[in-house]
């Protein structure tokens, strides 16, 4: 069928060319998008548009599903409904100024994103980070992993039909957000890590709250396991759904819990330990099945492991400064800024030009965020702004595999599979 036919019948109000190409992309040498046949509607294929505004797409993902009855024959995923060009913004900001934007990349676990940027800048500019700051960062990162997985738990199970989990998961998540509120001053866009350390030390109140949370949360997890692990409905919705084999997962670039649910224990925390992850003990949970249930187990186990890491960090937390005191590399403390001339000048210089990595230097550093490997590639031109900053975002890679794993599934399972892959659009669309 010639493509002109589609464009004639396409009743689109906006971005005509875009819609047309999207529908054309469904066609290949075996299939063509046919318009509704007047004679026999049962013999025509149905093309279902899902999103960008759909409660189950976790934001603004858009799927074009080609259906044969209830089976999905082919899927095209359209992203970019949250694209704003953070990489362009980064080229116009100093490194420290750019950090609040990383909060808004993966807004379910902002702390990990802050740390990812800071570690990359520290790598390219050779900044030493004090011990205590490393441990505070690890606590923050693990809390952010828990808060992100709680959103996944609440929304994914709500998509599968149980609204009560949304309430329970959010009740626990509010506790994590309260800790952040104490620790960093904001509920979830924290911007707490700084190049060369963190913004402020853990207060006693925050410390007590973290301890309390680490004590009580495992019981909560146990209760959830109790209601879900032997739940027939939950199992029927998830077992064998959205299967991704190990080879396919590696080939198509899955990362994070999606990859680990498919049987490959790739975790940046053990692969290339950053911060002090080599000094704490934890397991990398892995499952072989590769279906949605495997991803559920992996994430639940990860929350257990996060609590374990937090406990060890609290035990090991060394004393000392939380930010490097080299004034050319990091912001001076507020005491210095208010009471000494040099401190104020350094503060001004840091804000104005910021840290300047050597000219022509390039560096890539990745951390294990809640969704997977989150890497920052920075190329410097010697000034305070990056020449090129590339964000290697896990959700982008995970959404890509949706096009594969949705093939041959039932249309009703779409929402569960999207929930199981757990994408964040803000990060995917950059």
């Amino acid at each position: 069928m010639d493509t002109k036919h589609i464009s004639d019948q396409l009743d689109s109000k906006f971005f005509k060319e875009h819609q047309e190409k999207l529908y054309q992309a469904l066609e290949d040498k075996h299939t063509t998008v046919e318009m509704m046949d007047q004679d026999d509607p049962l013999h025509t294929k149905m093309v279902l548009n899902m999103g960008p505004q759909h409660p189950a797409t976790h934001g603004v993902l858009r799927l074009i599903l080609q259906l044969d009855g209830e089976l999905i024959e082919k899927v095209k995923v359209d992203v970019g409904y949250l694209h704003r060009g953070v990489e362009k913004i980064a080229e116009n900001k100093t490194y420290q100024e750019f950090m609040p934007y990383t909060d808004r990349m993966d807004y379910l676990s902002p702390y990990a994103n802050n740390v990812a940027l800071c570690t990359a800048v520290e790598k390219i500019a050779n900044v030493e980070v004090p011990e205590r700051a490393h441990y505070i960062r690890m606590i923050g990162c693990e809390l952010s992993r828990i808060s992100s997985h709680l959103i996944w738990l609440g929304t994914m199970i709500m998509d599968a039909g149980a609204v009560s989990y949304f309430i329970w998961a959010f009740r626990e998540r509010e506790k994590v957000l309260d800790i952040y509120d104490q620790l960093t001053g904001h509920r979830f866009t924290v911007s707490h890590a700084r190049i060369g350390g963190v913004a402020n030390d853990i207060t006693d109140t925050a410390m007590a709250m973290i301890k309390d949370f680490a004590d009580k949360f495992p019981q909560e997890l146990k209760d959830w396991h109790k209601t879900l692990d032997r739940n027939r409905i939950f199992f029927d919705r998830n077992r064998g759904v959205g299967v991704l084999e190990t080879e396919d997962a590696l080939e198509s670039g899955a990362t994070g819990p999606t990859l680990r649910g498919s049987g490959y224990a790739y975790d940046v925390r053990t692969f290339e330990p950053y911060a002090r992850y080599d000094e704490v003990e934890f397991e990398v949970p892995t499952r072989l099945e590769g279906d949605n249930l495997a991803r559920y187990y992996v994430r639940m186990e990860e929350m257990h492991e996060s609590i374990r890491i937090i406990r060890q960090c609290l035990d090991k937390l060394p004393k000392g400064p939380v930010r490097t005191d080299n004034a050319k590399q990091a912001y001076p403390s507020k005491d210095e800024v208010y009471y000494s001339m040099e401190g104020m000048i350094h503060d001004f210089m840091m804000t104005d030009t910021g840290i300047c990595p050597p000219e022509g230097a390039e560096a890539y550093h990745a951390v294990e965020a809640a969704k997977g490997e989150l890497g920052y590639y920075i190329q410097s031109d010697g000034s305070g702004h990056p020449w090129r900053l590339k964000i290697n975002s896990p959700s982008f890679k995970n959404i890509q595999i949706l096009e594969q794993i949705l093939d041959g599934e039932m249309v009703a399972d779409t929402v569960v599979i999207i929930g199981g892959v757990d994408p964040v659009m803000g990060e995917c669309d950059k």
Binding site: K13, F14, F15, P52, Q53, H54, P55, G59, V60, G80, Y81, L82, H83, R84, G85, V86, K88, I89, P100, Y101, D103, R104, Y107, L108, I151, F166, I167, F170, R171, R173, E174, L177, R187, F188, T189, M425, G426, D429
Partner: protein, 160 residues
């Protein structure tokens, strides 16, 4: 007081506007246009701690035909703007709009090629919420302001 005494117990008189406004203002069902980080705070707003149900707004309706207040939560991309406007047009009158957060109100920190600098470029906004992202309390405040606005409207009297 005269009519009520004539009708007996169980009756009271009021203006039809006050009655509709009272009903509308306490059942403002949101259309959650959750785009970005603010959407997560919007979920917290509906969640157990902040509990929008106290204001009759717990029913998040993802179908535009069933909702009254659109909460635009997050930065509005040019590509997305068309979808948002289409959904707004599909909402039945009377309808209200909250621009939640700095990005939806003015473009905020995302002063960049992809982002519409404020959703009021293509939507009539009733309440702006500051903050990046605003705390759920701030969104509750905006909802209360919308309720105040609904209570002062004269929809029925204008119609006749």
């Amino acid at each position: 007081m005269g009519i009520e005494s004539a009708l007996g117990d169980g009756y009271f008189t009021t203006q039809i506007d006050s009655l509709t406004n009272w009903a509308r203002s306490n059942a403002a069902w949101p259309m959650p246009m959750g785009l970005a980080c603010c959407a997560i705070e919007m979920m917290a707003f509906a969640g157990p701690k902040y509990d929008a149900a106290r204001f009759g707004s717990e029913v998040m309706r993802f179908s535009p035909r069933q909702s009254d207040v659109m909460i635009v939560a997050g930065w509005v991309n040019y590509k997305m703007a068309h979808a948002i406007r289409r959904i707004w047009d599909q909402m039945p009158d009377p309808k209200w709009c909250i621009a939640m957060g700095a990005c939806a109100s003015t473009g905020g920190m995302h002063r960049c090629y992809g982002v519409v600098q404020g959703c009021d470029n293509f939507l009539p906004v009733d309440a702006y919420v500051s903050g990046c992202p605003p705390r759920p309390d701030a969104l509750l405040h905006a909802l209360m302001k919308i309720q105040d606005k609904i209570r002062t409207e004269h929809s029925v009297m204008l119609d006749t």
